[in-house]
């Protein structure tokens, strides 16, 4: 089991499910981060956190504590 937060720059993965029930899940769904979505890690902030991911043509940055709830296939 791999988490989105573990994705290194230039690596890609496919979302399996989102392991959180709070407001953030809604926000992620609105941005198109639903199960089956391809994600590609494009950048990492100089302090390692947050990271930026290419999702459905847009680049979204997420803190690692949030992206570790997103489980990849």
């Amino acid at each position: 089991m791999r988490r989105l937060s573990e994705l290194a720059v230039d690596e890609s993965g496919v979302i399996s499910y989102i392991d959180t029930k709070n407001r953030l899940r809604r926000r992620l769904y609105d941005l198109g981060l639903v199960p089956g979505t391809k994600v590609f890690c494009v950048a990492k902030s100089p302090l390692g956190d947050p990271k930026a991911f290419l999702v459905r043509g847009a680049v979204i940055s997420l803190r690692c504590e949030d992206s570790e709830d997103i489980i990849l296939e």
Binding site: R23, L24, R26, R27, L28, Y29, D30, L31, G32, V34, P35, G36, T37, V42, A43, K44, S45, P46, L47, G48, D49, P50, A52, V55, R56, G57, A58, V59, I60, S61, L62, R63, E65, D66
Partner: protein, 623 residues
Amino acid sequence: MGLTKSSTGKNACDRFLDIKTGDITVALMGNPNVGKSTLFNYLTGMRQHTGNWPGKTVTGASGNCTYKNKEITFVDLPGCYSLLSHSPEEEVARDFVVSGEADVTVVVCDATALERNLILVLQTQQITKKLIVCVNLIDEAEKKGIKIDKEKLEKELGAPVITTAARSGKGVNNLLDKIVKAKETAENENTPLSGEEIEETVNRAAQIADACVRFKNTNLIERDRKIDKILTGRPAYAVMLLMLLGIFWLTIAGANSVSGALSGALFKTEEWLNLALIQINTPDFLRELVVFGGYRMLVWVVSVMLPPMAIFFPLFTILEDLGYLPRVAFNLDKCFKRCGACGKQALTMCMGFGCNAAGVVGARIIDSPRERLIAIITNSLVPCNGRFPALISVITVFIVGGVFMPSVVLTGAITLGIVMTFLASKFLSRTFLKGETSSFVLELPPYRRPQIGKVIVRSVFDRTLFVLGRAVATAIPAGLLLWLLANINIGDTSLFACFCQSLEPLGNVMGLDGVILAAFILGFTANETVIPIMLMGYISGTVLTDGVSLAQLRDVLVLNGWNIVTAVNMIVFFLFHWPCATTMLTIYKETKSAKWTALSFALPTVIGVFICIAVNLLCNLLA
């Protein structure tokens, strides 16, 4: 294209709901940063704040345009990702569309990320039938080798689709045609949002995008990644500092070269004005009031403020249009997180460099109320454009070393402001505003080539002249008042001198003097006037006949007991003191709380007084 007259000062938090309805009311909605405000500005000729980062528009605006004898009212809504809203500014957008006030809703989409944008289109289609899909930024998509099959998209969505490039106005007339037609044909019915699972909507958007969008090459996406390697990679912080230094170097070098000539010319005019008033037999009292009170203040303000602003604004706006600001938020998020705040505070901080009132309103992009308050209360710890020119003049007068050293010191001062923002945020999240940090989700937009010519014209005419106008408008009455205060005597001393003397003890403890503190207090209405008031205080009664060069400024200050310690404390107190009247009012409107407004006043003031006293003590000990 940077902050504008209508997005700063007292206008910053005005609501848009006062809509003049014409024949057709059109809502412009869409994801953040897809060019809604650019399209709105093009259609209505208005000047909403635009720039390449998500969340500039937090209040919305309305404006009119006449097309084929029809008066069309456009409402520019804040960007939102979904109709199932989260933050205050997203609610504004949703509520307006749901209310059915709009005859036609135009969903503006970013052609370069159509798939994600279609999610909102599909959601909006569930609540309104009178919908037009406007695929904007089509020029950018073409450059990126993205081809959109418009006919197919129309068929898939069952709604009219227009492609536009709002920056150049391409396709805008087609859009207007469709709006007029849509108003005439479709029935207006609003249905409540059906319970369709968002997952289904997202997948349908993906299918439609799959069928209608073709990618030819990815060179430009690759280019963005390469730029990101520099701007957000390992060298990011060094690049940020160098960029600040570069901007300040250009600002100071440029300002130095024109400031003298400008004030020389303006002082020539003072002589003429004086002579003209003598010619027409104006009473001496009135003549001196007008010339040495009002006009002289005006000259100071114009010659000290205009040159740095005319250079700094366009440079900053170019960075904003390029798409750098969200990267700053991305780079600094971890620091803000450690301080219990949100990375988006970097965006409101950057707006604060333009205008603290605008920064305070901009804090609406922060979802968590706790983090939003932190951003509001700490906003005035970075200098706004009313303080920049004053900082620059104090620094250039007292820091020797050509243009380079003053730029370094100014960069240091700004960095101090940023560091203090972190410390104050940390303090607040440990004391008054305890709580968990929330999540941080921010879209990093593609880099866009700024339209440099347009930026310069806009920043000079809309922004620089506006700020200058405000400074002049407050400086002239302040100059008149000051002249009166300085010339009405109680016994042997003037009112102004009495006021200054009463502040002298506190001023001395802080390494400043009574006149400086008096200037800060009288400058509460606008920070732009602090330096002019201070100078009027120093030179009241004396008559300067020729132009005010920086060397003369230095002479005046040294004559009044200034040394390097005074200059340093002046810089510190300029960075950290109470927010101006407009900002205070805005904070009150945004927080609706006297407590937080008072804290916003007290926090920077205490920091400033404390540092000044510490610096002064330290210097006295060393001396």
